[in-house]
Structure formats: structure tokens, C-alpha cells
Amino acid sequence: MADDQVIVGLEVHCQLDTKSKLFCGCSTDYRSDGPNTHVCPVCLGLPGAMPVLNKRSIEYAMKVAKALNCTVLHESEFSRKNYFYPDLDKAYQITQYDKPLAEGGYLEIESDEGGERRIQLTRIHVEEDPGRLVHMGNAERGKYSLVDYNRAGIPLIEIVSEPDMRSPKEARKFLNKLRATLEYLSVFDSEKEGSLRVDANISIKGNERVEVKNITSYKGVEKALTYEVTRQKNLIRRGQRIERETRHFIESTGITQSSRSKEQEHDYRYFPEPDLRPLHVQSWVEGIVLPELPDARRERFVLQYGCSLNHARTLTGELKLANFFEHVVVADPKGLSSLAATWIADTLIGELNYRSMNLDRVDAAGFTELIRILKQGTITDKSGIEVLRVMLDQRIKNEMAETPTAIVSRLNLAKTSGDTSIITAAINEAITENPKALEDYFAGKGGALNFLVGQVMKKTRGKADPGELNRMLIEALKKKET
């Protein structure tokens, strides 16, 4: 290990996608409803109310444990973590302390140097989410907090890693792999806002550990850790000590800040939850059937569809994407896979991100048709992008969705090969309008040809087959020489 080696460990909290809460029957589908509408005596922590464990939450957590190669303990139990906060309505969180559901395990990620790295896990356990606090008011009118207990009692799975990651980038990769795995297991919906929260521990070798709490986005984790690495390395360079402390990440500015001292030295006074009974679920492990997981799917994509490793990695990186790909190529895998993989991985994802658009809104049949058209050579790649953009924009604006064929026709994007007269005309125009470029070309200046190609492309609105266009332009230029 290098002297200034970065050491990162993560504690990841994910909301399990059950229908009802961890200890009561309230619906977990609270996000579009008003505050305090998904609450009952149990999750509100009314005096006298008692928790009853949701079986599915344990089944889900065990699926995760098995997928991550953990050992499920023979006996597992819930404990109370006691602290006082307005969003914690019982003044304790029911969690697991000394007898978690599972221990050990690992997750393999692509290391920064290429190749695979195994990140060891410490443990996995189940716990309840607290409510949600909103800070209100100001210095003049007085500050206060508003609490919504809809989130109180939502089941969480906490996955704790060993401090095995060596960079902020590796941390992001770990998170992405974990997220994908949980999606493949159908126990987690990453699109739900706030469904994932991360506490990160980071140190520079030989120095104190800093904890950054409550990071709520994947990108945020890498940003926060990158900031911390810089901050800590600067301190070391100045000969200053790193304080062992808890900090929080501010998304808007990308910096971490020291949390108030009240956060430190919490004595949680853990003891076993007397209202819940122990779990003996080790025997359930054998009967758990895992679906195809990301690594296996990636390997299958390479073998079955001939995808490049990079494309396969990208496509299987999200469950929806992988499903989309397979759906698109299903009618003709041999014929469509190569093009589909490229267009989804290298183009579609980018176009969706640009529009902040969800893959769900893309019509797979339409996309398949586009791939076919491209395969037939009916249009150029450039036109293909244009068609795709029109399709996506129509969806976003909720306009009538045209088929790719219709778009090609309407915008007259079909390649002009066969009808070379349009290209010839465009070439002649380009040459006539750009005498300097012509001179430069004959003078041997390489950029001149590209410039002229660009001019012809413009005139043909990208419809000309590039290979064809190049050939014809060079021929025309040759003729001009003489």
C-alpha cells in the first residue's frame, strides 16, 4: 500500500421494496401523498403500540445476503438503538446490533487498474427508517421543524463494507454494482427518491478516519469522497492532524462540513428489543433461488450476443437497460445485437440523460425498427441520431409518436446512394463556393478535405453515405486538378 493510500469503507442503506412497512401494515407507497397519511399507532410510536415483523423484508434481505455470499447467522435478533430526535418517534430505532441477519460476504467490482477486485463486506442487517424532518423558519420569526412520519418504519437493509476501497471512483463502482445487484434481485427500486443513503468512512493511510454521513446520491458519494481526499491530503501536506470526526456532505456546493458536536460520542445504549422474538432463519438460505445476477448476465451477453466486454458491462449495469436490450434484439439476435448494443450503450443512454428522460418512456418496438433501418443501410448514422432524437422528443412532449420509418420519410433522410446526382450537385456547389479550400487542398493542407466534406454533408443534410461522399468528392477534386 502506498504511503498516502486512500482507504474507504461504506455503509449503504437501501429501502426494501415491500408493500407494507417493516413493523406494521401501513403502505410504503407514500411519496405522492400528503404528510402523515401513511401512519398508524405502530409506526407513529404511540404509547402501547407494538411492532410485528414483515416476513417479506427478511426474505428480501436474505436474498441479498445470498447474492453477496454472506453467511446468515443461526440466530439473529433486533435491538433498540436509543437516541432522541423529533423524527424518531419512539426515541429508539429498531435495528440489529450484535446479532445481525448475516455476516461476511463480498462484491466484485472493476478495479481502477482494470480487472476485477473483491470488496469484502462486514455484515448485512435490517432496520427501520425514521421519519422525515423539514427545517423551517428563520432567525427573526423563529426556527422550528416540521415532521412527516410517512417514512417512519419503512424497511431498510444496511450493507456494511470493509474498508477495502482505494479511491472515490472505486466507491462509486461499488455502489453501482450494489445497486444493480439489488435491482436484479427485485428487492429495491433505485428510482424512488431517497431510497438509498450512504455513510462513507475515509482515511489516508496512517491518519484518523473521517465519517461523512447521509449522502443521498450516487454521484454525491464520489464527489464527497473526492473533496475529502483533497481536504485531508492538504491538511497532511501542511503538517496538520486529521481530526476523527463526523461530517456531512452539501450536495449543492460539493463540500463536506463538520457536523455539530452533538453528533459525536453518542451512547446508544443498545439492548435486545423485548417486543420482538429472535429469528432462526439460517435454514431458509438453501431454498432461496437467485435470479441471474449482473456478472452472470454480463458474461452471457458476451457469449450469447457477442457484445464487447465494455458494452456488456454498460448494458448489464442496470436491470432495465439489460431487459431493454434483450427485448430489442429478441426477434433477430444474430442480426441486431451488434448494432443494438452500440446504439444503446453509446448513443441512447447519452440522449436519455441529456433529456433527463427515463428508459421506461422509450418504445422498444420503435427502437428495434430504427436499428433495422440502420442495419439495412437505409440511413446514415448521423441521420439515425436525428431520427432517435425526434422519437425521444415526441415522447417527452407527449406528441403523437411517429415510427422511425415515417420520420425518415417525412424528413427525407434516406441515403442518397443510387441517386448520386444530389451528391454531385452538392459537391459542385461546395467546390464553387469555397475556392480557398480548393487551393489549400491542392497545396496539400489536410484540413481542407475535411472542410469540404463537411460542407457537402451540410448541403445533403447528412443523408449522403460518408464513404460514398468521400469517394465522389475526391474524384471530383481530381477532375478539378486537371
Partner: protein
């Protein structure tokens, strides 16, 4: 043996107030009780706790929640359906 300072610290930890004029009596009584608890030091072994009721769970079925007004009914202060609480620093 706990001192008055210890008792004050415990009161802080428990976020529960005691008056200064109670402190002396509290500490005295505390010590008497803790002395009595010392008899537990003689308890031997870690007898395996009997676990006869295990795996008590319910099915993942949604049940009706309380109407919002019932949730808010006992709260001293509310705003737009949220429950009001003193500010957290």
C-alpha cells in the same frame, strides 16, 4: 460509587432534568440502590437464554392507516399536515 457529577452526567445522557436541590438526595439514593444491585456480580455463567417463541412474522399485506386528522389530533402544534417540533440545531 457515583458522585453528584456522575448523576448530573446521567441526567444529561437521559435528557432528563433534575433540580440542584434534588441532586444530593438523588445521588445518595442512587448509591444505595446501585449497592443493592451489586449482588448481581455473584451471578454465574451465561445460561443460554431459552428461545421458545421464534420467527414471529406477518405477511406483507397493506392495512389501512390512520386518517391524517387522527394522527394530528393529539399533537400540540401542526402545520399543513406536518407535526411541529422545536428546531434541531
Amino acid at each position: 460509587m457515583v458522585t453528584e457529577k456522575d448523576v448530573e452526567h446521567i441526567a444529561e445522557l437521559a435528557d432528563i432534568g433534575i433540580n440542584t436541590d434534588e441532586l444530593g438526595t438523588f445521588t445518595h439514593q442512587f448509591n444505595a440502590i446501585l449497592d443493592y444491585f451489586d449482588v448481581l456480580d455473584q451471578v454465574k455463567g451465561d445460561t443460554t437464554i431459552t428461545r421458545d417463541l421464534t420467527n414471529i412474522m406477518r405477511e406483507d399485506i397493506v392495512e389501512p392507516s390512520l386518517p391524517q386528522n387522527e394522527v394530528l389530533k393529539n399533537a400540540a402544534a401542526q402545520e399543513d399536515g406536518f407535526i411541529k417540533a422545536p428546531r434541531v440545531m
